[in-house]
Symmetry: C2
Subunit: 337 residues, 2 copies
């Protein structure tokens, strides 16, 4: 799994491909680190305790949770992410899952397999109500799409915003307990931070409306899976659609595979043909800015744990090297600096 | 299957419930006919060849195809339908089917049953292109919903409109052969008329893009099913989502049940909890207009075969009786006129 398009760096950077075992040796000499395998903890393990470190780390993912270990958070290193790439793919995926659950597509297709014709009445998503947790690009696009389907959406972010140009009000995280009982659909599209880790636990599920359904396109660690399973088994939740899991791939022994009302997919809601090219281009565009000393885009607020707005932080001058962190393989290409 | 809410007629009409065998005897004395079972051909069989006939027939369905036999078309009897009730339910259903096919929900859920984790990249509906055939309420709402999902939509009606306030251009039926090759999605939401019956045949499927998918929420008779099956088997069509069929319930022996890429549902795309109340209220609101001598709503253009616009035709004065046509049962209620 090598990033495509790095030929654009030819003549401008020495590119070294690293894996889990070689990364520690390469990092002290790297100006820039591209994290291509965002599921790897290699960066945390390899991060230099002292001495020279990359001035900029870019992760080809929306989530930055694996990068925000204390040593990196408290270093001067800039972190950028793939903000924006996944917004529309994930938003329409969520919309499709909600329609599928409301209109009982899985039931129809199960009946189809048995050649059974059984007419039912199913509730429209129009007129239903959703809470979308996460007011970044993915959460906002999800809210926008659900509103177009005539769903009433409460958008929840970290902090309250009362004059949002599109949504009017963005609710603060503290408002969630008051919103959960109203929602037919609860969608997690939040960044994984210490404040959001495990936020969907027994207490949260107990607040949800009887028969509500939960959708997770954030991170598995947003959810206490045993609590989710209990809420599904008790019937409080009518169902859940999960694209992310505490452990990925989902272990074969997980009860989630077979729980009634649970729809699974393998962490693919944002992944479309050409996504790797798009991700690589996003890094490379930032690399051009870095080399030119211009502000990088998609800069992550390391305290908040996500890219809070279009980046405005300056790059650190002419970079001369890049190391890509990839836990899967090791490869070195030397390009003239 | 008795219409609800007819208590609203108390004191204003004599209500007689009819079935296939009793309808012919009741029709000559009826001022108004409510067709509740729109799948029945009872009206055609029972329609009086001469003498007194109802002045107004309302069908609790969007499609009026079973009512537009020559004797009724050429009579002065007004026909109204359930225009509007199904627009939003069907539009979101179609949107959900298209997302499900694009994003491979059926594949994911098949893998789930086998406890297989297999990541794939799937194409977004955003950026794809659809042809929606049928520019009535259902087709327009479907087009509106797909556009909100960032799909490019060509809306096709009977006649060209170049200054449509919402869509700009509505293409005439004659433009369809030029549009089919461009579409990733072809959606049939048309009224069934002599002009549209069998319009999706081998010639139409041959014009569609390799790998296109077909969605039918119109009527089964829009499609030459053997031609559709051949187009699916040849691989020209990657799939189809069908809610309506030439014969309903779909016969157990139909190859459609098991064709790869085919998603079936039992004519339910518009049917939501409370729909029967909504349908009954729509008739009863029109009944109030009829009694008051006001123009009825949802008047069907019997030549065109659908309700072309909000009705403006006058009712025919104070009606004193209503007969409901229902092929399933016979019942008579006498209410003081």
């Amino acid at each position: 799994m090598r990033p495509p398009r790095l030929g654009r760096l030819a003549g401008r950077a020495t590119v070294r491909h690293a894996d889990d075992s070689s990364l520690a040796g390469l990092l002290p000499a790297a100006d820039v680190l591209l994290v291509w395998d965002f599921t790897s903890d290699a960066v945390r393990r390899a991060w230099p305790g002292a001495g020279p470190r990359p001035g900029w780390v870019h992760t080809a993912s929306a989530g930055v949770d694996r990068l925000l270990f204390p040593e990196l958070v408290h270093s001067p290193t800039l972190v950028t992410n793939a903000r924006g790439v996944f917004d529309i793919p994930i938003a329409e995926y969520v919309a499709g899952l909600i329609i599928a659950m409301a209109r009982e597509f899985p039931v129809s297709w199960d009946l189809q397999r048995r050649r059974v014709w059984r007419h039912r009445e199913t509730r429209t998503v129009a007129g239903s109500r959703a809470v979308v947790v996460g007011s970044g690009g993915i959460g906002r696009e999800t809210a926008r799409t659900l509103r177009a389907l005539r769903v009433t959406v409460d958008l929840v972010g970290r902090q309250e915003r009362t004059a949002d140009p599109e949504f009017g009000r963005v609710h603060p995280a503290g408002a969630l307990p008051g919103l959960l009982p109203l929602a037919d659909w609860v969608v997690c599209a939040a960044p994984l931070t210490p404040a959001t880790r495990g936020m969907f636990d027994a207490a949260a599920f107990a607040l949800m409306k009887e028969g509500a359904r939960f959708v997770n396109v954030g991170r598995g660690a947003h959810v206490v899976e045993t609590d989710l399973i209990a809420a599904l088994r008790s019937g409080r939740l009518a169902g859940a659609a999960l694209d992310v899991f505490a452990e990925e791939p989902l272990p074969a022994g997980s009860p989630l595979w077979e729980l009634p009302g649970v729809l699974l997919s393998p962490h693919m809601s944002g992944d479309t043909p050409g996504w790797e090219q798009t991700l690589a281009d996003q890094f490379l565009d930032n690399f051009d800015r870095w080399v030119a000393g211009e502000p990088l885009h998609q800069v992550v607020d390391k305290q908040l744990g996500y890219a809070a707005a279009s980046g405005t932080e300056p790059g650190a001058g002419a970079g001369a090297g890049a190391a890509t962190g990839d836990a899967g393989e090791e490869h070195t290409e030397d390009l003239p600096a």
